[in-house]
Amino acid sequence: MNGKRKRVFRVMLAWNDRKEERWLTEQAKAGWHVERMGLIGYTLVQGPPADMAYRLDVGPAHGDRTEYLGLFRDAGWEHVGRRGIWHLFRKPVLGREVPEIHTDPQSRISMYRRLLGVSTLMMLAMVLQIPGGLSRADGSTARWMMLWLQILLAGTFAYGSVRMLLAVNRLRKHGI
């Protein structure tokens, strides 16, 4: 690695996890490898181009992560970083077979169900804030901006919940 680095700002929406994985794989093909996973983006470091499978998984919410990370390590996956409940792993692609971390539709369904739960809760939390925001919207710009932000976030989480539901249904019907 010659050590040239760049920081990439990137917002990942939970329902676009496969798209994010493909983007990271393309970066690796172009010789840019994830050095650090940040809150909203990555630090990439330049090196030889590589055929690399990147995979995102929703890890254990609480408790001991040693067993979880140990299984991935044993299966040859490198733990690249973590962002909240998301974990990023990578493994070189050798030969024709692309390695996978989920090999059964059921485990992907559980993953999207967990995301659906989080998204629905966040949506409810935001929706419940709106009446209070309305009653306080006394004409000051800051109050209105807060209200619009709450509505925007509620909408985003509602959209996210629908996307997760669709993902679960698609997996149920067509498998992985």
Binding site: E67, Y68, L71
Partner: protein, 117 residues
Amino acid sequence: MANLDGRAGGFLPLTEPTYLVLAALAEPRHGYGIMQYVETLSDGRVKLGPGTLYGALNNLLRQKLIRRSGETGTNSERRKVYALTPLGERVLLLEGERLATLSKVAIQISRRLGEVR
């Protein structure tokens, strides 16, 4: 025993990865051991990804079909070992009987179709 059979029957049919994980735990193994053994058992046809295995182990623990049975390895590479509970063993055997019946049917059908051709 009848009671155990009744409870065990409620878990059937198992998904293929779940059945193979239980089958691998006919002897206590750690997670990595399960991955390797399942691949061997299925002639390399079934590969268990670590995400799928982690979910399957957690489900089986919650359903009390398997239990934790100590640890192996040194500090840096410590691995938890899993074993079947009596209920898990019943589920494995009942599902085995069900699959054996099905494969008998499958063999007969394949032979018959073979004759027609």
